[in-house]
């Protein structure tokens, strides 16, 4: 069994500089001036999101000078901060587009701690920042047209694999190969659970979708595309639906079969804590309709089930260490082939893949073959 896991490198190779991080950020900034900018979804006044970007960038100096160390509380935040300082600390010059767009979420989280910005504002602003970047990545649909520039012989490369996984949100490889691609970090055409009216979450009385109009012209801004700085945070979001379903299924089973638990769950209906009230409602909904589920839109179970050889192409470990950890922890994998772009990647990957035989191939040689 041969699996191909690919990332943005393939888009950069055939889509060109439009898909560079710096281009994504510069375009995101310029897009805000467009007359048809979707202000009704992203932010009413686009200068606010630009101001946020400016404020966040101004914090980079302090972050690199370790003046933010005391604002990283979790292990995840501490590791991400350390990694941020490692990657940018030696740069002689940095401008806004030089910072990885996902790293802005880390700066944002630390900034929120420092400025005591809390939910719901913290969440809402973060969602606006996410839509600001997604709108740019989607690039008015151009990101889904890159496959038109794939050379025909690239089919030979894909024909060597039995299954495909990607961290990209676009459908180029699927359109090109006519084979199923699994979108580990979501896809532009897959709705996020919160926007799916049929999900268990939206059957509840505090449905987040209540009173919210989805503009289908901008479907990709409602997608399940995951963007964050930390692999663990991505993994948490990826597994959220699966774990919520497992928990509610067990509660519903107990509700049906154990009178004492049923009585406790019923008492939660008027609890002062909204999370407890929601658990009561979700359990009763599930008990009355076992087919109701939270959406599981990320193919995590399929990824955990892969076996044999996995080749990693066009995917850097930065911000995605969770994927490398899953590969490393999967005992059914017998070999990992990592296509590197720069030699420095090897030392990083060496630390992440320790349980399987690891081979390196120069990705530039691959692209030379499939020009």
């Amino acid at each position: 069994m041969k699996t191909l896991l690919f990332g943005n490198g393939i888009n950069i190779q055939f889509g060109g500089s439009d898909n560079y991080n710096s281009s994504i950020i510069l375009r995101a900034i310029k897009n805000t001036k467009d007359s048809d900018y979707p202000k009704h979804i992203i932010v009413d006044d686009p200068s606010l999101i630009l101001s946020l970007l400016g404020y966040l960038f101004l914090e980079v100096r302090d972050i690199l000078a370790h003046r933010y160390d005391s604002y990283a509380f979790t292990i995840d935040e501490k590791q991400s901060l350390e990694d941020f300082i490692r990657r940018y600390g030696t740069c002689k010059s940095i401008s806004i587009p030089d910072i990885g767009f996902e790293d802005y979420y880390l700066i944002y989280d630390l900034f929120c701690y420092k400025k005591k910005i809390v939910n719901p504002d913290r969440y809402d602003i973060r969602e606006a920042l996410k839509a600001f970047f997604l709108y740019s990545i989607y690039n008015r649909g151009r990101v889904n047209e890159i496959h038109k520039r794939y050379p025909a012989k690239l089919k030979d490369l894909f024909s060597g694999y039995d299954s495909f996984f990607t961290t990209n949100y676009d459908m180029n490889v699927e359109m090109f190969t006519k084979k199923t691609v699994n979108y580990l970090h979501g896809a532009f055409n897959i709705k996020a659970e919160v926007y799916n009216p049929n999900s268990l979450r939206n059957q509840m009385s505090d449905s987040p979708l209540k009173g919210y109009d989805v503009d289908v012209n901008f479907f990709y801004l409602y997608s399940n595309a995951l963007t964050t700085y930390s692999g663990n945070q991505k993994l948490f979001r990826i597994k959220q639906g699966m774990q919520a379903n497992e928990a509610v299924r067990k509660f519903a089973y107990a509700y049906h079969n154990d009178p004492a638990i049923k009585s406790s769950i019923e008492e939660w209906e008027n609890d002062t804590n909204s999370l407890v009230r929601n658990l009561n409602e979700a359990t009763r909904l599930k008990a009355s309709d076992p087919d109701l589920n939270f959406d599981e839109t990320y193919p995590i179970k399929d990824f955990e089930a892969i076996e044999g050889t996995i080749s990693v192409l066009g995917l850097s470990p930065n911000n995605d260490t969770h994927i490398f950890k899953m590969i490393n922890d999967n005992p059914k994998i017998t070999k990992v082939i990592y296509y590197y772009h720069a030699d420095e990647e090897k030392s990083q990957v060496n630390k992440l893949i320790t349980s399987h035989p690891l081979e390196y191939e120069d990705v530039k040689l691959v692209w030379k073959i499939y020009r």
Binding site: S47, S51, G54, Y55, F57, V60, R61, Y88, S93, P97
Partner: protein
């Protein structure tokens, strides 16, 4: 301008633009630019600043973004961009 005064000015430029470049690198980079290039960058910064009548505290983060966009597009450091603008001699090509 003595070195302390120079460094004070450069530190202000760094704080205003988010630059991480060292003082000496800023000066080196500035000196390596041709006069026409400086004039061009000056005109771009002037274009951003002259239309802006917003109070400084509100305008500053937006100016940071604009200066950084110019810096990225001209492949120079943001502090160098602002240093060019502080020197009125760069207003016109010589």
């Amino acid at each position: 301008m003595d070195i302390d005064e120079r460094n004070k000015l450069l530190e202000v430029l760094k704080v205003l633009t988010g630059s991480v470049m060292s003082y000496d690198e800023i000066i080196l980079s500035y000196n390596s630019l041709t006069p026409p290039k400086r004039t061009y960058v000056y005109s771009r910064v002037n274009e951003v600043l002259r239309h802006d009548n917003t109070p400084f505290d509100k305008a500053q983060p937006l100016i940071v973004v604009s200066i950084n966009v110019i810096a990225a597009e001209e492949n120079i450091d943001p502090a160098v961009v602002l240093l060019i603008y502080t020197n009125k001699k760069n207003r016109k090509a010589r």
